[in-house]
Symmetry: C5
Subunit: 92 residues, 5 copies
């Protein structure tokens, strides 16, 4: 998983029927956590995240398990909200 | 998922039998959304997208769920069309 | 999927038993279509591609669906041959 | 799999219900083993790893098999602890 | 799949129970075949490869099919040994 910050939203009225009702958030991975060299991804929100929050994002097939519908064409899902960014302990 | 712009099409007469009838569109990911450092991908279209439209693309195993045939050898699928590019709200 | 050009072959006599009979081709992704920043991949051929042809390659779990044996340890498969490279329409 | 060093932890009180009880560790891949050009990932710990230890991390769908719950939205899991970093033999 | 050279080994006494008995080899992808921009990976060996040999490596979910245990948390597996590196024909 990676940690990222919710920076935006995107709306698609025309979409795959199994995505109806999904909330799409735009997430910027934390420094050093860009996935696949990708600086920004669209993730479905499963935990009620809001703009500005730091979140845990699961990608790939794991995302479908996180979004509540295993048959949904989803490849990134917010599965947790980081309690306190200050509490992320990193000892290099 | 990533957001990208449909920039072209490609036609394959000889192809895997489960791909017969699929429409292949070439998509350029939005700035900062290149997947795997890949600046351009071929995606099957599930929602009736056209050249120039901004679309939501699911990749990996999620793509098969998006394209209507879970046994199709597809790794990228257009699953939504962005309503209004101006409405993509990004707060950095 | 990505579009690439078949540039070579590789032979493995000692291999996983479910790969016996598979044809391995070396494919160079088209400009801007490098997958995972990878400039060259080995793909199983499902459609009778030859050296020099432009092909459509599915990667990840999709590749197994493309190669005819869903239990084969294959992560890249040629699933189509591009009709006419000149007909790839790209409108940037 | 890749080899990395456990450098930190992250806590998410609000999270997907199947992640309750999971321990999230932050792992820095060993030199040359960055996955997807990603310099730091969050992995679930399955083997009792601690800060500073060198670990073996499985990613993608393999991670779910490593973390004990195949329905958990997990895409990276620590599946082994390297015995002795000095014993990693590399002959280039 | 990618082609790489076996350059080392790594030992993990404490590991996921389904990995007991697995041999972990460190593989350096061939030039231009780095996966996900990753210059070195740890792969389970299924075909009896040795240090210095050129091997075919399957990644992602395909690796589990290659390593004999579909429930093993493995994301990279050596599935073939290249017959003769001189016979890799590449026509650019």
């Amino acid at each position: 998983m990676i940690i990222g910050k919710v920076v935006g939203t995107v709306i698609c009225t025309r979409k795959n029927s199994s995505l109806v009702g999904s909330k799409f958030l735009i997430v910027d991975p934390m420094e050093k956590m860009e996935i696949d060299g990708c600086d920004r991804i669209v993730a479905v929100d499963d935990v009620g995240a809001g703009i500005g929050e730091l979140v845990l994002v699961a990608t790939g097939s794991a995302a479908r398990l996180g979004c509540g519908d295993p048959n949904s064409p989803v490849d990134a899902c917010i599965v947790g909200i980081v309690d306190d960014p200050q509490k992320i302990v990193i000892v290099e």
